[in-house]
């Protein structure tokens, strides 16, 4: 690669979303002491504006699609898909946060700044084509998320969540870094296409070496996407973290982690696919099964959704197991659908839970359908989508994943996965039952009317969920087009 033009204007444009987010994050940090406390809606609005700017930045970057910084970044359709996804997740996280932060009397700019940094890290992950950049993106995203999880510093559970997340997360990152080091030692490169070339070409390193490296990276990434057997942190962290942050964690970092998962395993390690397929197969099945069956027993909605999130990671792993472009496209589509439905569901939880998140039990949803029909209807859409009922994005995503799996002759995984999704229907139905078939509870009676920001944070994902279910073509075409990664 030509070393002469290592940095140029084109590269800057391809790096635009990250630049915007980092600068705006820093601006927000600096603004905090300057701005009057009571006027803190400003922070939220500013961060939404920065995210919208970053959205345009990603589109501009896509117009200049191609490698940047000597191949360290690869701005292609795949990267742009995930950049837009994590930025939209960011916007949908900030919207319900206004009310939440006001309620907790914790309106500072650092919340928004951390969110922007985390998203910048995820954008970097989406576009990274080099293990070092991947690692940097992962760390930026993770460290900001650790702090966000413990953002309510007076809350014991939030502290526990943050500490647990931080310790286990660092541990997992260590595994990942080990893998990177090994693969660098084996192939002499951290660039994904070059690793691929080294693994397949003449004088390839010992397969054991490469295999161990791949396995170590799998452990690290498996943790980040909360796939079994590396899922144990997820329920505690999801339950303890402030609800908008939980929503964010379950959608943004997860999507970005899957982006690098796909990028690494479908480019660098694709040639040794026969080796890692059984591992991912088992992990997919374990994630689905553990997630769904554990969720059956939960009474806390956040915890329930945490286990459901593990199960959904399993579905995406099924798409990875398919090891095909269709599988990659299916994973991309599913992550988009999942982001909408999950963030919407968490927004309702956040709305209902009240000050200090008192109401988080399934029972607290009782009678919501009578007291707030609009909120209940939105949550119904999200839940039906999580179940996988047709005309929702969740159904089409699942359909597309299992279609890819069957194309790759993964008959048993498909059957077990689909049966799993029937089991899952039970715990989502429990919430529906509570909302519509019981008399209003204290929580439903006390629930405030929807604020404009929150309404938007519900309506946008609801429309997105239905749109992906009824007219999936538009997103699907883009995913299909960008699923063949640069190799």
């Amino acid at each position: 690669m030509p070393a002469g033009n290592f940095f140029n204007a084109g590269d800057a444009i391809r790096f635009l979303p990250e630049i915007i987010l980092t600068i705006m994050g820093t601006v927000l940090m600096v603004l905090d002491p300057v701005v009057h406390r009571r006027n803190s809606n400003l922070f939220g609005t500013l961060s939404i504006l920065s995210l919208i700017a970053a959205l345009f930045g990603s589109v501009a970057a896509y117009a200049q699609a191609g490698p940047a910084f000597g191949g360290m970044l690869m701005v292609d359709g795949f990267a742009t898909f995930f950049r837009i996804l994590v930025i939209v997740v960011g916007i949908l996280t900030v919207l319900p946060s206004y009310r939440f932060l006001a309620r907790q009397d914790a309106e500072t700019s650092e919340y928004h700044a951390l969110l922007l940094y985390s998203i910048a890290g995820q954008c970097l992950m989406a576009a990274a084509n080099d293990l070092i950049i991947i690692f940097i993106g992962l760390e930026i995203s993770s460290i900001a998320s650790y702090v966000l999880a413990g953002y309510l510093r007076d809350d014991k559970r939030a502290n526990e969540a943050a500490l647990k997340y931080f310790l286990l997360g660092s541990f997992a990152t260590g595994f990942f870094l080990y893998g990177v080091a090994l693969i660098y030692g084996a192939t002499g490169s951290v660039n994904l296409p070059m690793i691929r070339a080294a693994v397949t070409g003449a004088g390839a390193p010992s397969p054991v070496f490469v295999g161990v490296a791949a396995a170590l990276m799998f452990v690290g990434l498996g943790f980040k996407v909360s796939a079994a057997p590396f899922q144990v942190w997820a329920p505690d962290v999801y339950q303890g973290a402030p609800t908008p942050v939980t929503a964010f964690l379950s959608a943004g970092p997860k999507a970005a982690a899957f982006a690098i998962f796909l990028r690494i395993f479908m480019t660098a390690f694709e040639p040794i696919g026969n080796g890692w397929e059984p591992l991912v197969w088992i992990s997919a099945l374990l994630s689905m099964t553990i997630g769904n069956f554990a969720a059956l027993l939960q009474s806390n909605v956040k915890r329930l959704l945490a286990y459901s999130s593990i199960a959904h990671a399993g579905y995406v792993l099924v798409a990875l197991t398919a090891r095909s472009d269709v599988g990659t496209a299916a994973a991309m589509f599913y992550l988009a659908a999942y982001a909408f439905m999950n963030i919407g569901a968490f927004a309702v939880v956040s709305h209902l839970s009240g000050k200090d998140e008192r109401y988080q039990n399934v029972d607290d949803f009782a009678g919501l359908g009578q007291k707030q029909p609009m909120t209940a209807a939105m949550l119904s859409i999200f839940l039906l989508s999580l179940i996988g009922v047709p005309l929702t994005g969740g159904f089409f995503g699942k359909f597309y994943i299992f279609k890819a799996a069957l194309e790759s002759h993964l008959v048993w995984l498909t059957v077990l996965g689909l049966l799993n999704s029937a089991v899952a229907a039970y715990y989502y139905l429990r919430i529906l039952v509570m909302m519509y078939m019981h008399e209003p509870s204290e929580a439903a009676l006390k629930a405030e009317p929807l604020s404009p920001g929150l309404s938007l944070a519900l309506i946008v994902p609801a429309i997105g969920t239905l749109f992906l279910g009824i007219f999936p073509g538009w997103v699907l075409d883009f995913a299909d087009k960008s699923s063949s990664l640069v190799k």
Partner: protein, 521 residues
């Protein structure tokens, strides 16, 4: 404008508008629901009027692309079986609106919205010719029914609703897997295209493959029918549902299963269907007799009618798996009959419940004195359900038994026991409820039918007589369609048998050649 599309989309528009009607005025929702469902019914009457009875193929076909990749079409069309099932749905929806007029006082707007959405799903299932579209409608019809049972049902409604949802869901995910598998093999979701590929040999299944695919489809349908021993959700759902829910569930929703078996299982997997037929017939006969015996001892009227459904649906399955023209015709006719007469039974039981707020047979007695017209309507329905000649069920049961006798005489003998038992439990029910001493309580609570109730029951009684006296109005298109099913179920078999023979022969030749070569060396 395609007539079928109008029939499908009218209730959908009705549903969407119903969502935005004011919550404060339940009367507006009622008026809207009755208006839109009546209009749908009247428009759907044009379907049989313009249906070309001379051809067996699909009519009112519309085929536009919905999703480009994977290629999914909005492909709907009507054949002779779907025609009557669609009419059954459009006829029963306004009746259900009428019957819920006073009974539903709570969350009226949502009730009628769900009822209309249910109608969309049900019509869609019977007209979808794209497998993906079929699955979409199949699942879409599940959601409103779940809410109808769960919100407006009786005491154990939640248990019943969840059980209903999970049973159906478990079956349908397997069907989804099979549909995707079919797509990956055939490269299309279009059902007619897959059938033509099967018949010209461009698509073939190995026997084991065919068997698994057949089972995946069949179990989904069997749960819906329901075939013994998968029927346990049915008594719960029927008993707990509000009257309108019971009617739609029994009259139309169960037909989704039998229609599916007839429309998909037989033509797609003929040899697997034939292999399994004896086992399925045994289950069907067990269902017939078991359902009847359980009905006999039910103290609860609604449960009695629910178990009688298990028994009646057994006849339908028996007819389908007799693989005879008469049996198939009878099965379809019996589907329609059961829709009309069991719908009417649930309706009348609902009227009794509205008056006395009880479903226990023991709480009634002597109802005929204060409510003679109600009793008359119930009597006609009872006789129809038993299978009295000149009323509808007789025609269907006769055809099924005849078809079964052609296939295997013993089947007909055992199934006929069910007919006798049905007379026992229905007449005994009638006797206990309508005759005997009229207690003071019954007299006080039992006004005769009012105009609205008349309007709901009369169309059904007219249909019972019409279908019993002049079945020729209905049967010819059915015969055309079932003949085609039989034809497909036959055409696809010998071809594959030949092919397997051919394969076996070539394999033998090859091994013989190898033998010769080895000997030569």
């Amino acid at each position: 404008m395609n007539l079928l599309t109008v029939v499908l989309f009218l209730p959908l528009i009705g549903f969407l508008v119903a969502l935005f009607l004011p919550r404060s005025s339940p009367q507006a929702s009622r008026n809207w629901a009755i208006a839109i469902s009546l209009i749908t019914f009247l428009v759907s009457l044009a379907l049989p009027a313009t249906f070309d009875r001379a051809t067996a193929g699909e009519q009112f076909k519309i085929d536009t692309i919905w999703i480009a990749s994977p290629e999914i079409h909005f492909y709907i069309a009507l054949d002779g079986v779907g025609l009557w099932l669609v009419l059954l749905s459009t006829l029963l929806t306004p009746i259900c609106v009428l019957i819920s007029w006073r009974y539903i006082q709570n969350r009226v707007k949502e009730f009628y919205a769900f009822l209309l959405l249910l109608e969309v799903g049900l019509i869609g299932v019977f007209i979808a010719q794209d497998l993906f579209l079929f699955y979409v409608f199949w699942e879409v019809s599940l959601v409103p029914m779940y809410f109808l049972v769960g919100i407006w049902g009786h005491e154990r409604r939640i248990y019943a609703a969840v059980k209903f949802f999970l049973f159906t869901m478990a079956g349908s995910v397997l069907m989804l897997a099979a549909i995707i598998y079919l797509y990956n093999r055939a490269g299309t979701f279009s059902y007619p295209a897959i059938l033509s590929m099967l018949s010209n040999g461009r698509l073939m299944f190995a026997p084991a493959e065919q068997m698994l695919l057949f089972l995946a489809f069949f179990i989904a349908f069997a749960i819906k029918v329901p075939i013994f021993p998968l029927h346990t959700w049915l008594p719960d759902a029927h008993v707990e549902a509000p009257t309108a829910g019971s009617i739609m569930l029994a009259s139309v929703m169960l037909k989704m299963g039998t229609y599916g078996i007839l429309h998909f299982c037989l033509p797609l997997f003929p040899s697997a269907s034939r292999t399994c037929a004896p086992w399925i017939v045994v289950l069907a006969i067990i269902g017939i007799i078991y359902g009847a015996l359980v009905s006999l001892v039910q103290p609860n009227m609604k449960k009695l009618v629910a178990y009688s459904s298990v028994s009646h649906l057994g006849f339908v399955i028996l007819g389908i798996f007799s693989f005879t023209q008469l049996g198939l015709d009878g099965a379809v006719y019996q589907m329609l009959n059961h829709g009309i007469s069991t719908g009417a039974l649930f309706l009348l039981v609902g009227l009794l419940y509205e008056r006395k707020h009880s479903l226990e047979i023991a709480d009634f007695g002597g109802v005929a004195t204060p409510a003679p017209w109600l009793s008359t309507a119930f009597l006609i329905t009872t006789l129809a359900s038993i299978g009295l000649p000149t009323l509808n069920n007789f025609v269907g049961e006769f055809l099924v038994l005849q078809g079964a006798a052609i296939a295997n005489y013993k089947w007909a003998v055992f199934a006929a026991i069910g007919v006798i038992l049905s007379a026992c439990y229905m007449l005994w029910l009638y006797q206990r409820v309508f005759f005997g001493e009229t207690s003071e309580e019954v007299r006080a609570h039992m006004p005769d039918m009012n105009l609205r109730e008349w309007a709901a029951i009369v169309p059904l009684i007219v249909m019972m007589v019409w279908m019993g006296v002049y079945s020729q109005s209905f049967l010819p298109p059915v015969t055309k369609a079932t003949a085609r099913v039989l034809d497909q179920a036959q055409v696809n078999v010998p071809f594959r048998v030949q092919l397997e023979r051919f394969r076996a022969a070539t394999a033998r030749e090859r091994s013989a050649a190898a033998e010769v070569a080895r000997a030569g060396r």
